[in-house]
Amino acid sequence: MKPTYLAILIAALMMASITTYGQSCTQRLNDAEDDYEAGRLSAIPDKIERCLESEQFSKEEAVRARRLLTLVYIFTDQEAKAEGALINLLKEDPEHRLNPQVDPAELFFLYDQFRTAPIFRIAFRAGINSSSPNIIERYGTFNLHTHSNFHNGKDREGNDSYVVEGDSSSNDYNSLSGLGFGFQGEILFESHLGKGVELGIGPQLRLSQYNTDSYVNQPDLNSSLTNQQLNIRLPVLFRYTLNYDNRDQKWLPYVFLGGAFDYLLTAKYTEANRAGGTAYSISSSDLIASNQVNQYNYSFFGGVGTKMRVGTHFLTFELRYDMSQLNYINGENRYQNDESTFDLAFVEPDLSLNFLSVTLGYTLSVYQPKKLTK
């Protein structure tokens, strides 16, 4: 026989052997369950433990097998082994649910002595945001009595244009740009504190931008800028989830409140143009290097969302509003950027940045079952 044919034959025999062995594990589990029903407990561990060790059970079979082992050890008064078996059961099926119709009270009793909830959850989230500058104090090279900045296409009254009474040009002053969008991603570590309230903390990276337009007292002299920020943040939140403990609930709505420490990594004008006269554009500008902005801030935020249960994990969708608490602009140096102040005829007002964001996430539950200390 040629060596090739020999190899094929050996492989086929091995496959057949494995298949036979697998079928036998299923059969062994069925037999073991029959033994349990018949009260023949002593031989059950030997029947199924080898299959468990060699991982020949399907997921569902492994859960059945570990439950069976737990029951056997309970009823054979092997307390330590019963606890070990239950831990293995919970590792296999972290949120294993007992059935009052079929599970004995002794199993309930033992189960209640164990930590079956996740020790924490870790959420990976990403989304888009739209910034909304909150003007603290108005500044401008234009006349503040008659003119206004547009931020993200809206003036102070929320309009996209304004008129100046008595203006000889009789023109409308229209916004020149629209909403500024950005992105954020975060990793959130979550821990259940009790009664549906969770504590979450984790780093977030947020790229955001806002657009601002202003007219220097006449329709044909205006500036238009896009101010972009990259923040690294450390949010801490409290979240209350409705029906948190109800494992039958697929959709779990929640509300949350939190605070965050924000550190500005980069800030720049991605676009900065003046029209009128000899048009002028700034190609790049580092607002941190020129000390135009404050790098430290903190925020409060709140929002609503919903979790969709996927096994023991969750998909999340949430709407969130962040409110920075400190001035983004370094007022002391507001006018110190010559290019902005004179070439663009633009200075930033004092403002804090608010954000509306939509986030999608996936939350992993991390379990570590163990017996609870009394």
């Binding site: 003007i135 108005r138 090279t141 009790g194 220097v216 209350y240 006269g277 110190q336 804090s352």
Partner: protein, 432 residues
């Protein structure tokens, strides 16, 4: 478990309570600022402060295809325009404003020139804080009193016993008056006293055989007049200071000072290239600034201090340079509340070598501080302006708190020039 999550929530909510920042429409009046005014092509000229802290800026405005006119802008303490007004010398005239002076009762005198088919004439008017002309205009001008053939540059209200407001105007003219000693048709400095009822009390001319130009005048404690101007002889120029009695007569002779020459004082002749451009009354007398040429033939600013009688204060005359060692000129000066002199002017070509090489910002506003007693430059100078145009500091006004206001011309290029008002801190910086 003793944990009560509601306590955490309540604590957090209490932290959030009132945490939203609210809008404040009123920047602090002490904040520095940069503001722009006007349409078309504008040039700042001078500024004055009202009793309520508002500021009136005198400027020249020229709309497209229009004639140049006087342009008055009234702004509040934060620099926001509250009113403006255009005053035309006469139909079709090219007008050049020169000075605005406070005369009490929140009224102000404005003076300048209008150029018509018949020549250049001085014009002046008295306005109130609402920028309304309250003096009686002469026929031929809707707003102004007119001084024929005198290029008026400054005006003061004199102290009078009869209760009738009278004004002395300084200017220069080629016109030959009956009292002229020298009648060669060159420019002579003219002093004239008028009221706004079209009465002229006297006209006096002063000067030498060359061209003399008026710049500024002040009333002395003896009700005389201290006049500052420029004297020239051939290609030489110098600062010309003379004092007159209340009738404009100079019994003492004038003094000619040169910042860049040792030949100064009574009887001296102009021997340098000094062009005085601005004068301010100070606690030591008067400070005169202007433009001259240094030993390398480069344009630089200068400062000359004279006492209340117009005598030069020794060791207080200095050439003004800048950090970049570029050509510059000093156009106006004011004494600040901190006892320093703040000078403004321009760097005609801001194209440094060494640090900052490669930049060319054309003409830039120049701001520098001088020690009141020594006249020496204190600290570094500042420069401001656009990259695309020629910007210039035209006038400086000291504020009670120590800050200064600088009236500038800011050029956005392609004929768009705006009046700029810069509120700077005591160091001349745009920094609170």
């Amino acid at each position: 478990m003793s944990f009560k999550p509601t306590i955490y929530l309540l604590a957090f909510l209490s932290l959030c309570a009132g945490c939203g920042l609210t809008e404040d429409d009123n920047p602090s009046p002490e904040d520095v600022f940069v503001k722009f005014y006007g349409r078309g092509s504008n040039e700042a000229v001078d500024l004055q402060r009202t009793s309520t802290g508002d500021v009136i800026i005198l400027a020249k405005n020229q709309l497209e295809d229009g004639d140049a006119d006087f342009y008055l802008v009234k702004v509040d303490e934060a620099g926001n325009e509250v009113d403006s007004r255009i005053l035309d010398g006469s139909d079709g005239s090219e007008d050049q404003p020169k000075k605005i002076k406070a005369v009490g009762n929140d009224e102000f005198l404005i003076v300048g020139q209008m150029s018509t088919e018949t020549g250049i004439h001085g014009i002046w008017a008295r306005i109130n804080v609402n920028l309304e002309v309250v003096s009686s205009a002469e026929s031929g001008s809707e707003f102004f009193n007119v001084i024929d053939s005198v290029e008026a540059v400054d005006i003061i209200a004199t102290t009078e016993d009869d209760g009738i407001a009278k004004y002395v105007i300084i200017g220069h003219s080629r016109k030959i008056y009956s009292s002229d000693i020298i009648r060669n048709g060159n420019y002579q400095i003219i002093l004239t006293k008028e009221d706004d009822e079209d009465s002229t009390y006297w006209v006096k001319s002063h000067g030498f055989s060359g061209n003399e130009f008026g710049l500024a005048l002040f009333e002395t404690p003896q009700r005389g007049i201290l006049a500052v101007g420029e004297a020239s002889e051939g290609s030489n120029r110098g600062v010309y200071v003379f004092e007159t009695n209340r009738y404009g007569t100079n019994d003492q002779g004038g003094d000619v000072y040169n910042a860049s020459s040792a030949t100064s004082g009574e009887g001296a002749s102009p021997s340098a290239d000094d062009i005085p451009l601005g004068v301010a009354e100070t606690s030591l007398g008067y400070s005169i600034v202007g433009s001259t040429l240094d030993q390398n033939g480069r344009q630089v600013g200068f400062h000359i201090a004279v006492n209340a009688s117009g005598q030069q204060l020794e060791n207080k005359t200095f050439i003004l340079q800048n950090d970049y060692n570029l050509a510059c000129q000093a156009i106006d000066v004011a004494e600040t509340a901190y006892g320093e002199l703040m000078v403004t002017g321009s760097i005609p070509v801001f194209a440094p070598t060494g640090d900052g090489a490669g930049v060319n910002k054309l003409e830039q506003v120049f701001v520098s501080r001088l020690h009141r007693l020594s006249g020496r430059i204190v600290g570094g100078d500042q420069n401001y302006g656009t990259t695309v145009g020629n910007d210039r500091g035209n006038a400086v006004l000291a504020l009670p708190g120590g800050d200064v206001l600088v009236a500038t011309t800011i050029d956005f290029g392609s004929g768009t020039k705006m009046v700029g008002l810069l509120r700077l801190n005591r160091y001349g910086e745009l920094k609170d």
